[in-house]
């Protein structure tokens, strides 16, 4: 009964970060410590750069905010002016990636650098699933957050990038809790619940967010009932580490920050995803494939922050016109091979 009485304050979100940092130390830390001791004697280093805690911490600062897909400096300036907490630089918006077909790769590095030197907010960029070299290039030029994304064409469907190797935080997509926990185990600092990219249709994002929530509720239920055996079985059946399943069960939420993504096109879409437990939202094609990007960007920022205040969401929704919302695509009309969400489980 003690755990019930303490409620969810028994474990804080930052406790989970400390725990995840220990997990990483367990895997790589001992080797690193040995190397460092050899190089520098036993000197204590006063400033520790790019540690896992700093990566989880950075992502924590994005909560309650909107990250917007942009393809150039002009769009990045609109996003910053609207109050976005970050931009994601792409070569093409997901809607255009879908239309163009062919192989989608990371954006032009010169475009990313131009965006970085024109705005003050964090800049993210996408690399292909499994393409560690694209990720290294993005880290080298100083991108703040790397999205290992299914919107681009995967180069390795079986193995994602080992993200513990990087100082830069990574975000990965997930359609279910087990997929999310596998990405966290590989070193992802942030999860975005996948929708179907470039459709302007929030249906898939809703479906996957609810699936994740139900699995978390199930695990939480096992934990509150003291049924660790059931958590063990869940971990085994879903191919996730027991420790991460247990951490999720204790915390009652994903152990890292979770944004919603895929098909968000209106302020109401953003507020809906926040109600479903998202910590923030990514807006892809929804803003710059609409007829009113400036007003829509501001409105989505407002609706995301004030999602639990219907009066303000009404105000935000009135800032945009449904006549110029992105037309969108019915997900049921897409052929199975056209789905991006199934890439790299």
């Amino acid at each position: 009964m003690l755990t019930t009485a303490l409620g969810w304050f028994a474990l804080k979100l930052t406790d989970s970060y400390v725990w995840l940092e220990k997990l990483r130390d367990l895997i790589y830390g001992l080797l690193e410590l040995r190397d460092r001791a050899r190089e520098e004697g036993l000197e204590v280093i006063p400033i520790r750069e790019g540690t896992p805690l700093v990566r989880y911490g950075f992502v924590s600062m994005l909560k309650g905010g909107v990250i917007m897909d942009v393809t150039n400096e002009k769009q990045a300036a609109i996003a910053e002016d609207a109050g976005a907490v970050g931009v994601m630089v792409l070569d093409k918006l997901p809607y255009d990636v879908r239309a163009a077909g062919g192989v989608a790769r990371t954006a032009d590095l010169r475009v990313i650098e131009a965006v970085m030197s024109s705005i003050t907010i964090p800049v993210s960029a996408k690399c292909r699933i499994g393409h560690a070299e694209e990720a290294r290039l993005l880290e080298e030029i100083g991108v703040d957050l790397i999205d290992e994304s299914e919107v681009l064409t995967p180069v390795d469907e079986k193995a994602h990038i080992n993200k513990w190797d990087f100082k830069t935080p990574f975000v990965n997509g997930a359609r279910s809790l087990p997929e999310a926990l596998r990405r966290i185990y590989e070193g992802a600092s942030m999860i975005r619940t996948k929708g179907e990219p470039g459709t302007g249709n929030v249906a898939e994002a809703v479906k996957h967010m609810k699936l994740v929530n139900r699995d978390i509720a199930t695990l939480r239920g096992y934990y509150m009932a003291g049924d660790h055996e059931a958590i063990w079985v869940y971990a085994k059946e879903n191919k996730v580490p027991y420790e991460l399943a247990l951490l999720t069960a204790r915390l009652g939420r994903l152990p890292v920050v979770n944004f919603a993504a895929g098909g968000i096109a209106t302020p109401a879409d953003a507020a809906l995803m926040m109600w479903l437990g998202a910590d923030g939202v990514f807006v892809g094609s929804g803003i710059f494939k609409s007829g009113d990007p400036e007003a829509r960007a501001r409105a989505i920022v407002l609706a995301t922050s004030f999602y639990d205040d219907p009066e303000t969401v009404v105000e935000a929704q009135k800032m945009v016109s449904e006549k110029v919302s992105m037309v969108g695509i019915d997900v049921r009309k897409l052929r199975p091979e056209e789905l991006m969400q199934i890439r790299g489980e």
Partner: protein, 198 residues
């Protein structure tokens, strides 16, 4: 007992709230001017300073918080919060940002002084009146100068940047360019609660 408000427009307000609750303090989220009526002190959390500044302006929070400060109530800003409280804000690369702030403290804050996210770090720093704290600097700003009643109360000696201010005080206003809430160092909170008039 002191009731501490946490500005909950954007950023890591949950982390501040959880540290306060962990210390047994009554914490409340603040989003609109009326929420300021029932609290004794306010924390402005980390996040994106441009986003927080714009959302505050939309909801009439700029005048409301300035009024709250005039009545003598303590306010503490961490990272983005420190930027939001400053009268002058520059970016290391882009120069003067002209972003909306509360213009509460006579300090000049330089955004992203240590570089981009890959240069973020954890360090131990000494802050006057608070002591040694282990805290996270995440795309952190620095405090370049303070004038009038403001004074810099802590510095870091950074291998690339050199010596730069990381904390400032002006009356009951505290600006910290780092995150005590991420490392969970509660010394800062005990100090801040001590500023509330009994």
């Amino acid at each position: 007992m002191a009731r501490i408000g946490v500005l909950a427009l954007q950023g890591d307000y949950l982390e501040h709230y959880q540290v306060l609750k962990g210390l047994g303090i009554e914490a409340r989220y603040v989003k609109t001017p009326s929420d300021l009526r029932n609290i004794d002190a306010l924390i402005i959390p980390g996040g994106e300073s441009t986003t927080i500044g714009k959302l505050m302006a939309i909801k009439g929070m700029v005048d409301a918080v300035r009024e709250f400060v005039r009545s003598g109530s303590p306010v503490m800003g961490t990272c983005a919060g420190a930027i939001v409280m400053a009268k002058k804000v520059f970016d290391r690369v882009l120069g003067e940002t002209n972003q909306p702030t509360l213009e509460l403290m006579d300090i000049n804050v330089i955004r992203n002084i240590f570089g981009r996210q890959k240069n973020s770090f954890v360090a131990r720093v000494y802050i006057d009146e608070i002591g040694d704290v282990v805290v996270a600097f995440i795309r952190a700003p620095g405090i370049a100068e303070a004038w009038n009643g403001a004074r810099i109360t802590g510095y870091i000696e950074h291998p690339q940047i050199g010596k730069i201010g990381v904390a400032a005080k002006q009356g009951n206003l505290i600006a910290l360019t780092f995150h005590p809430e991420i490392t969970g160092d509660d010394k800062v909170y005990r100090y801040f609660i001590g500023l509330v008039k009994r």
